[in-house]
Subunit: 411 residues, 2 copies
């Protein structure tokens, strides 16, 4: 027998805690960015796989297919067209880099610009994964409070001036301007123009994340920051995770070639998965424009189911808005509720949720807030899950005061 | 018009040079790990895609499908079986992490163990991508010379003692023991046992890379280091890039759960591409065992074509072995040939090659050596490409002395 080997003295300093073993999804899955299973376009994906592999399957024999390191060219061509029609972005296929999910987009942009000790500005409530990455990098992430339209520019300018006085030049302003995560806010075009002016004045890059912008109930959106700036001083990322399926790890970066060429120099992974890219490109060319509004319609209905269930189960104890798109609802519970603790107790009862503090730079402000993703559970599961959550919350924190009504108690 | 934005003052220190725009593959493509296009199993991949999507397509709606963050479970189950039969590895599916190519495997293992200033031991001639990553990380990669069976253990021990005397404890010994890249060497089982003893004695981890081990002409191979150590003190990585297709970015890490759980804690990418994993698992379960020997037979024949072409065009000026597997031939040219310069001149003539210094820690030793990948070009293209290479080499360095013979001059 081989003697046990203790590898722990060899670990790099600061290695995060080990992962726990995965034991399956909870019954009521309100976590992460999971999506609607009935809307995965299975038949069309099979048709796309068949067509594209028949035509080009042999190109799998070379790294990057026949498209080079930026990614499968027909997918970049599709994106160039979609981004133009949708976000107003004029870019060439060679100004788009396909990434393994927008997570890799975040990593690459961070690698390009950030060193330990650097400062960035981000929305006070923001994507938890972005925060985790910044913490790991030893970067100072300064949160700017939001209002119903997103970033508060008065507070942004104040912070920029403050930092300047201290001799600190932030590297970028990270924003999700179109269906903000987690609040769902859409920043109007006037505020976008003002934001661009402020960033240019301070010589700070804008890092625009548009992962959710395809999912807007009425299909209306302002032009992207990248479009409005003609790409100057802006790096734009996006994803197919929310519009098609999250298990597909396909995202993209849009940037001027001077910037993108440098990012490409950092991307040492021999390309992103070819089958994902090929099948997606073939599917999207034919079906993207039809698929997305159908998915959005279902999501809009699920959002209303969630809002009604919360109103029914929590009464006035839960405060929330009516986001114009996306897959998340950001909810405020009474001040005495600690959503980290609530999350643990709820998970034991089969309900997963994202506690506010993981999605905010202001842990105190976010303490009694939480994010629920309504895209994955079916409507009946949403109702049941919210009833269970209310019961757990009442048991742990004494709110909501009234007990669940007869209808939901039946479930 | 938006004013141009100068982003260069914002760049992280040490950012590598920008990439150059890709302009297509060269006519004679002997670079990288490209594979045989005729052996991409297109029809079987279509059948696999159809079957698996029909059965499980709806699971694309959740991150990680229904398998959790280690990757698609049927693929891990296939791998557990294959690794047992092939490499002698006894492991559970939960001791396998699917990665986005073995490149991500390298990145994750490096993240787990390495900090700037650390030291690792590697084979003097080794995978260039591994060297690049170590350089980026600021890690001291100490090369150990090879013989026909791989790592020279006498020199390895000597170096370990030397480092110990200086108070330096290396983090790992990186080795490609089974079809070494670039030399093609296979380390015998006795030497493997000795290597394990040395590593354990010095408390150094072994990092075993078996990307090429499926492609052995006679199908015979020693047990893997991981198998022989019962997984203690060894991390094993592998890939489907060489056995199926390089554009698929699917690799894997095998490690004891104590180690793998820590690696998983570092893997912040929301999983690897689901379509790649699903289609691959479905294909492999039915066809892997038949597919690989057929591919290997073609590759073995291409190797002989390359060896004959080199003998014909370079005569005694080119020295090379007869590797028992893989996709590479490691070649020594006369001492006056600088293969970095040869590579540039050859590329201008349509021939791509990997200059030795990029694949070695000993730049002087590797100066007149180069690596050719014989897997992608068709036999006739191999012959023509070698003739062009000989012509360029003669023009630039005066060798080979004799001119190409009549047969090859016709091409």
């Amino acid at each position: 027998m081989t003697a046990p080997f203790d590898f722990t003295p060899l670990l790099a300093p600061g290695t995060p805690a080990p992962a726990v073993k995965w034991t399956g999804f909870p019954k009521y899955n309100f976590i992460g960015g999971h999506n609607d299973a009935k809307h995965v376009p299975v038949d069309a994906l099979i048709a796309a796989a068949t067509a594209v592999l028949k035509r080009e399957g042999a190109t799998l024999a070379t790294y990057g297919l026949n498209s080079g390191p930026l990614g499968y060219r027909p997918l970049r061509e599709f994106l160039a067209g979609k981004l133009k029609g949708h976000a107003g972005i004029e870019c060439a296929p060679d100004e788009i880099l396909i990434t393994s999910g927008s997570m890799q987009g975040l990593d690459l942009v961070n690698s390009l610009l950030l060193a330990r000790g650097d400062t960035v500005l981000i929305e006070q409530e923001t994507y938890g994964g972005a925060l985790t990455k910044l913490t790991r990098l030893g970067v100072n992430a300064v949160g700017i409070p939001l209002d119903g339209e997103g970033l508060r520019l008065d507070l942004l300018e104040q912070k920029l001036d403050e930092l300047q006085a201290k001799g600190v030049k932030p590297k970028y302003i990270y924003t999700i301007p179109t269906v903000q995560n987690p609040t769902g806010a859409i920043m109007g075009e006037a505020r976008r123009a003002e934001l661009l002016k402020i960033a240019a004045k301070h010589g700070v890059m804008i890092f625009e994340d548009e992962c959710y912008s395809d999912l807007i109930w009425n299909g209306q959106r302002p032009r992207s920051l990248y479009a409005m700036a003609g790409g100057e001083g802006v790096i734009h990322i996006g994803s197919f995770s929310k519009s098609i399926a999250p298990a597909l790890r396909v995202g993209y970066i849009v940037a001027k070639w001077e910037v993108l060429g440098r990012i490409l120099g950092l991307k040492q992974d021999a390309g992103s998965g070819a089958l994902e890219q090929m099948i997606l490109a073939e599917f999207c060319r034919q079906h993207f424009a039809d698929h997305v509004p159908k998915l959005a319609k279902t999501l809009a209905a699920k959002l209303q189911t969630l809002r009604e269930a919360l109103a029914e189960q929590f009464g006035t104890a839960a405060e929330f808005g009516d986001p114009p798109g996306g897959i998340y609802l950001w909810i405020k519970l009474p001040d005495n509720v600690d959503t980290v603790k609530l999350g643990q107790a709820a998970l034991a009862a089969g309900v997963s949720l994202n506690p506010g503090p993981e999605w905010s730079t202001n842990k105190e402000h976010a303490r009694s807030r939480l994010r629920l993703c309504f895209a994955n559970p079916e409507p009946e599961t949403i109702k049941q899950g919210v009833a269970v959550l209310a019961e757990v919350c009442r048991r742990e924190f004494g709110v909501p005061l009234r007990s669940a009504n007869v209808d939901s108690a039946k479930t």
